[in-house]
Structure formats: C-alpha cells, structure tokens
C-alpha cells in the first residue's frame, strides 16, 4: 500500500478532529460516529494494524475508511509537517486496497459499477447529459473561449441542474464565449479517484483528456469544485493540461462591469467554503469577492470559515453513497444549524453537492422558513438588472 510508511507516525493527538479554533468537531465521520476509529488518527492506526495482520478485512473496516469525506480538515490541522500532506493519499490508498479485495460498502460498489457501466452514478443515458441546458440556447463546444464542464450532478441531479442553468444563464447574459460538450461530456471521476478505484479513474481521465484535446479545448470552467480539482490537479498526471477555473473565479473578474440592481432591503448571506475550492484549492477569497460585489448583501461569516469550514458531508463519494448517513450529528445538519445561528437568510454555496446536501439538511432541521440554500450564480442572477 502506498504511504504505508507514514501510518505509524501518527501520534493520534487529535488536532485533525478540530478546526483551528477548536470550537467543535470538524471531521465529518468522527462528528457523526464519535468512535475514535472514525477519526483520522484512528484510520491511520487501523490501516497499520490491517497491514500488519492485527485486524482482518471486514465490512466495519470498510465502512470506517469509506466514510471519510476527503474534506482535508485533517491535512489542514495536523501538527506534523513531515507527513501531513500525505494523510488523504494514505486513506485513498487504503480504500484502493479494499477495492482491490472487493470489500467495499454496498453503496460504494453500486456507485462504482454505475460509473463503469453507464458513465454516471445515476445510471441514466449519456444522451440525457445535456438535458439541463434545454431551452437556454447554450451552444455545443466548437472552439469557443471556454468549455463549461458541469459534471454528473450538474447533468442529472435536479438541484445540480438548476445550478448549471444559473451559471450558464449568467455566462450567456454577460456574453461569455463558451460551449458545452453536452452528450459527449464524461464523468470527471474525482469521486472515483477518492474512493480508490484508481484504474477506473485513469480510464475516465484519459478518455476525457482525449475528447477535450480532440475538440481543441484550452480553457475549462467547472460547475463543481470537485471537477475543478480533478481536471486541474489530477489530469496533468495523464498529460491533460488545461487552463481550469471554477466558475466563481471567472465571475469575480466580470463583476465590475456587470449591471447589478439593489434589492429591497438587506440580505444576510453566509458563504460555505467548498472543500475542493478552499482547503484543497487554497481559494477562499474569490467567492467572497463575488458576493461582496452584490449590492444589498451583508456577507456574514460562520465561526467555521475558510480553512476551518465544516464539510457538507458530501465529499469522498458520500453525496452518492451516503455511507456517512443522516441524523442530527451529520455534517450537513450541523452546518445548516451553524448557518442559521448566524442569522443568515441565505447559505451561499459554490458546489452542486453542497447545494444538494444542504437543501436536504434544511428540510430535516425544519429551517425552510428562515434559511435558503443558494448557489453564488443564483444570487448573482437575482441581482442582475
């Protein structure tokens, strides 16, 4: 197993369980399950024990490893500089070893099989991939400046589709030269990679790269920060080099010229940092710059913001597999309670998975009357003259 040499170096001090402020638990699986085994340090020691034959392969071990959302809180707050950057890679390697043995939670198996057989986790026809854009007038990519990659949730998930329509609508309104691959778009594979199905990820990445290069794509805009991470940081390993931006990173540069109208009254907005733009991508300010440029918006911060943000719980494939599960201590419900506690009327997101997770959590918490979950593009559209 790759990175096996760092497993025993974890002291299990537990900084990885917390945000920098220490205010509450910030590791989604540990927050939910509370056993030490579900904390990053527990996973490190269990993997070591498993490699040493002290514990056997089991469904429980598999659930523990696959409940990790790969949010990167552990990497951010680990106090051991010598190996902290390898923590998530070690967990991915552990999952890869379990995938190789065929011992994965049922939902993970179903997810991976769906990607392998249908090219998407929803098991829907690839021909439906462009359904989200119907009626918008979005062109197929044919040498425009940008390719908009919406990914699987943007293509098939109802909440993701709304978000994709908002982003595309905004780009059209502002005259951005872009196109989509539509039916030709492939799953970017980020979750497949994180779940340890390395070979399938490599296949997806290579197919996508070939397609993108054949179409002459140089600049890519992504709807999801997960896709942004895969294309920007992982595809170069397979020779795919594209100028990749997550969509708020383009919007930020256009805000100054945009015609925006002041809404009636103030709107209190809290922004939730998506893990793959924030902790993984190091960009905390761009989404705030976009929101800050909207007249009448009061941007408020949750206590856990930026590098301290609590993940929505949808990463690491959990958006599809739900290994993490629901309940009052699920990350998404804790997060919407935190947002509501600030007095925010809108919880702003920049990721279709976060949007879906929080929509469900708002309902589960009975907060529908006070808190709306809105994507940044949806908020900007509301302010367009």
């Amino acid at each position: 197993m790759e990175h096996a040499e760092i497993l025993h170096r974890c002291f299990r001090c537990g900084y990885c369980k917390l945000p920098g402020s220490f205010q509450d638990l910030n590791c989604p699986p540990y927050l939910k399950f509370r056993f030490e085994t579900y904390a990053p340090g527990g996973r490190m020691w269990l993997l070591r024990a498993w490699l040493d034959g002290e514990i056997q392969t089991s469904q429980r071990l598999s659930e523990i490893l696959f409940s990790c959302t790969a949010c990167g809180n552990c990497v951010e707050h680990c106090v051991f500089p010598a190996f902290k950057s390898e923590l998530l890679d070690a967990f991915t390697a552990g999952r890869e070893a379990l995938v190789d043995q065929g011992v994965v939670p049922d939902a993970v198996g179903r997810y991976l099989r769906a990607i392998a057989s249908h090219g998407n986790p929803y098991q829907l026809p690839e021909a439906d991939r462009a359904g989200w854009a119907e009626g918008l007038g979005v062109e197929r990519y044919s040498g425009q400046e940008y390719l908009l990659h919406v990914g699987c949730p943007g293509s098939y998930d109802e909440r993701g589709q709304r978000m994709a329509r908002a982003v595309a609508g905004l780009l059209l309104k502002w005259g951005v030269d872009f196109g989509i691959l539509g039916e030709e778009e492939g799953c970017d594979g980020n979750e497949v990679r994180v779940l340890g199905e390395t070979a399938l990820f490599e296949k997806l990445a290579r197919e996508n790269i070939e397609k993108l290069e054949a179409a002459g794509v140089e600049k890519i805009l992504t709807l999801s920060p997960h896709g942004f991470h895969a294309i920007k940081n992982e595809y170069p390993k397979f020779g795919g080099r594209f100028e990749t931006r997550h969509y708020p990173q383009l919007l930020a540069g256009l805000m100054a010229k945009a015609e925006l109208r002041r809404r009636n009254g103030r709107l209190r907005v809290a922004f939730h940092d998506p893990c793959y733009l924030g902790r993984h991508g190091g960009d905390y300010l761009t989404p705030r710059a976009v929101l800050g440029a909207l007249p009448g918006i009061e941007l408020i911060e949750m206590d856990r913001a930026m590098a301290d943000a609590l993940c929505c719980g949808g990463g690491g494939g959990n958006f599809f597999t739900d290994v993490l599960g629901g309940g009052a201590d699920s990350a998404s419900r804790v997060r919407v309670r935190e947002a509501a506690g600030t007095g925010a009327e809108v919880l702003a997101v920049a990721c279709p998975k976060c949007a879906g997770m929080f929509d469900d959590a708002v309902k589960a918490e009975g907060l529908e009357d006070g808190l709306r979950v809105m994507d940044i593009a949806e908020l900007v559209l509301e302010h367009c003259a």
Binding site: C10, F11, G14, F22, Q23, F35, E36, W45, I55, S58
Partner: protein, 459 residues
C-alpha cells in the same frame, strides 16, 4: 456476552456500542508505550442517567468499567487491564453554565479543553480556564481528575485545585454531588463541606465516574507577554524559580531544556507568561519580574533573552503544539513522559538524572518543569520519544520511563498519572497505612471491584 451487548444497546442505542474488532483494537491502547489490553465493549453514553444505567448493569454482572476522556493520558490508564467496557465520555460535551461574576464554568465530563477555550473566547472574552499543553481534544474532566496542570498553574495551582465541584456516578450506581452543589444551586467551591472530591481525584477512575464538573475561571487579560530567563547552571534554577514565582504576577512558569537548536543545549530556559489590562501594568509586571532576579543578572549568571515578536507569539500559544510534534522525533509517532511532582529544590538532581538516563539508553529526551503555585512544587517532565513501529525502540523508551520513575521516587518526587507498573513502584514507597486506607475507601465505594481494576493495586 451477547446479552450484555443487547443491554448496552438498550441503554445508549445501537450506534454507540461496539464490540467490533476495530474499536476493540483502538481502545486497547493509547499513544504511549504500555501494552494493549482489549475491552470487550466500547460504549458512549450521552447523559448521567445512561452512565448510571451502565454502571448498574456492570455492577450486577461484575463487569469492569473504564472511563475515558480524550484518551491522551499516554500512560495507559484507560486500557481495560481486566477487560470489560471502556466508557468513551466525549459525547457528554455540553458547556452548561458560565458564572461571569464568580468566575466558574459547569461542563459535562466529555467537554474538551479546546471546546471550552473557544467557547469562552467567543461568549465570555474576559475569562479563560487553565489549559494544559495536552492536545485540545483532551477533556477538562480527565485532566482535573489526574491532578493536571497548565497555563494558569503558577496563579492557581493544580487543575484539581481549581475544581469547585462534581457530579459523580458511584460504582454502585448512586449519583453523588460533591462540593457546594450538594447543598446549593451554585457551584462556587468545595468549602466549607467535608472535601469529598478527594475520593475521586488521583484515583485513575477506580472510585467512580465524573459526569459533570465546575472549575474556576480566571481573567483573560487583553495584553500578554512572555519573558525567557536563561541560565546555564541547573543549581541556580530553584532559586530563580523561587524568585520569579514569588512576585505572584506570573500566570505560568515553565522551565524547558531544549536539545535543538544545538546552541541551546546545556541552557535552562525559564518561560514566564503574564497578562495585564494596560501597557503600564504589563511594564510594571515585567519590571517586577526582572527585579526579582536582579542578583542573578548582575552576577552575569543568567538573564532575560531578547525575543523577536514572532517567537514571542509562538511562546504565547495555548496549548503548545510543539509538544505533540515531539512524537515524531524518531519518525515513529510515539512519546511518553514521566511527570514527576516534586519540590522545586530537586530541579538540579532531576535534570541531571534525565540527561543521564537519556544518554545511557540513547533515547531522545526532552525535559522541563511546570511550576505549580508560587513555586510550591513543580511537575518535572522527562519525555522520551520512540518509534512505535520498532518494538526494540518502544522497549528502550519503556526502560527509560521505568528507570526514571524509580529515580524520581528515590529523589523524593512522585510520578504523576503513573502507569500501572509505576503505581506499584509508588505503592512500594507509600506509607502502608495510607495504602490500607486507600483500599478501605475503595472497598466501600466499589464493593464489587468493577472500576478500572488493575490500577492502584499491588498484584
């Protein structure tokens, strides 16, 4: 066994009981050197009532119960030496009440140090508690119950001295209130009642399970500074500490002896932290501290080190993250320490002994001492790093710890939160009548012998 599992499930819910090999593996050990001992079950209660029901079940079936907080004691005190169940208390982490005027806070036993620190910063910015240099996930209760010390110990003594009262589930299932809360709605002190807290502090979970506790809070002053007094002669350190602590302005006095960078080797550095409301007060306190050690400065045998602001900021960090990082000294994720509670005049001998053991065994060692009270005593620590993947290296660290424990007792100190073998060493030096009294009390409180058995025992 299945019947007991089902009974536990009925009490806390299926998601908070485990008998799976994964939990049994992790809860069998802590980050220190002690051999693992597997529990049969790991249980996570969420209320005093759930703890009470678990204890009643354990009592009826004579099942060992081992309460656990952060699991960071390092000396293996939460390993179930005779099997049974580990009670992970961290779901009980509610901060129940802060009394700003009388400066106290009431928390559940699973509340972490970091959580309380963050809560006070946000909601009561003028108050703070004494945080140890343990990682922030360590619990308030765990640290109080082992007589911990921390960043306000020069001002307030041991963390057990800062305890106002407790709620405890006794080994027979009764719920006892300790301190003023026994007779009043306020949790203001242990006086003037008979001090029953002593039945539970320092006993390593062998006499009951704390479920709530109230501790003292202290002013969190807007300004803070740190001075580092440096000396090359360990013989002078007791006098220097005596003088610095005697001024009674320091919140924390921590001596440390660094091995790196190389130019610091052989120096004793005494870190003095203090706070103030105004710049004038801060200057006054700095001057008072400086004057207290004037004779050493004038004799050119010591002096305050100039500190760049960035370094100062690092020394003001609470807790100090560098302590955990010592675990990677051997690239092996382990360290354990002997924390010797002893009078400050033993500093030179304690220091020499640490050097001697570390050099002879070739174990990386970091030493230091946290002053408790106005120099009333200190917790002198000898931290030994080891590579947990190398059994020989772990064995060396164990040997260093054992020899150090013996040396500490020989000097007249007492190992703190001692490992089970070190507890036997302590008992060997203890007045037999004292140990007999301990056993009598334990027999009364825990007639079925279910509480963390194997600790404070001779065989």
């Amino acid at each position: 066994m299945d019947e007991i599992y089902q009974a536990l499930v009925k009490i806390v819910g299926v998601e908070f009981v485990s008998r799976d090999p994964e939990e049994r593996f992790i809860y069998a050990r802590d980050p220190g050197t002690m051999e693992p001992r597997e529990p049969d079950w790991v249980v996570m209660p969420n209320s005093t009532e759930e703890v009470r029901q678990i204890v009643l079940l354990a009592n009826e079936r004579r099942i060992p119960v081992v309460p656990m907080g952060g699991g960071l004691v390092l000396s293996g005190l939460t390993r179930p030496l005779k099997g049974g169940m580990v009670l992970d208390m961290k779901r009980m982490n509610r901060i129940l009440e802060v009394n700003e005027t009388s400066r106290s806070v009431l928390v559940e036993a699973g509340t972490s140090q970091g959580m309380l620190q963050a809560y006070l910063k946000k909601h009561h910015p003028g108050l703070k508690h004494s945080i140890p240099d343990a990682p922030p996930i360590a619990t308030i209760a765990g640290n109080v119950l082992i007589h911990g010390s921390g960043h306000l110990s020069a001002a307030g003594g041991f963390h057990s001295d800062m305890l106002n009262g407790m709620e405890v589930v006794l080994p027979t299932g009764e719920i006892a209130k300790i301190g003023s809360c026994a007779t009043s709605p306020y949790w203001f002190s242990r006086a003037p009642l008979p001090d029953l807290a002593g039945l539970f502090i320092g006993w390593h979970g062998t006499t009951g399970i704390a479920t709530k506790l109230a501790i003292k809070l202290y002013p969190d002053r807007p300004l803070a500074d740190v001075g580092i007094f440096v000396s090359e002669d360990p013989e002078l350190v007791p006098g220097i500490i005596h003088q610095l602590a005697g001024v009674a302005v320091a919140e924390d006095i921590l001596a440390f002896m660094a091995n790196a960078p190389a130019w610091l080797q052989g120096f004793q550095l005494i870190n003095v932290r203090y706070g103030a409301e105004t710049r004038e007060e801060l200057r006054l306190k700095r001057d008072l501290l400086r004057e207290s050690v004037r004779t050493y400065i004038d004799a050119k045998v010591g002096g305050f080190m100039p500190l760049p602001p960035e370094m100062k900021q690092r020394f003001l960090e609470e807790p100090q993250t560098t302590i955990a990082v010592f675990a990677d000294a051997r690239e092996g994720g382990g360290f354990e320490y002997v924390g010797a509670i002893m009078p400050i005049e033993l500093f030179p001998e304690a220091y020499r002994k640490g050097l001697e053991v570390a050099e002879r065994l070739g174990v990386p060692c970091s030493t230091g001492a946290r002053v408790v009270g106005l120099g009333h005593c200190m917790m002198f620590f000898y931290a030994y790093a080891f590579n947990r993947a190398d059994p020989a290296d772990v064995g060396l660290a164990q040997q260093a710890l054992e020899e150090t424990n013996a040396a500490v007792l020989e000097m007249g100190g007492i190992p703190w939160k001692a490992e089970a073998p070190a507890q036997k060493q302590i008992i060997g030096k203890m007045d037999p009548a004292t140990f007999a009294l301990m056993n009598r009390l334990r027999g009364v409180l825990d007639p079925r012998g279910i509480m963390n058995p194997g600790n404070w025992e001779t065989d």
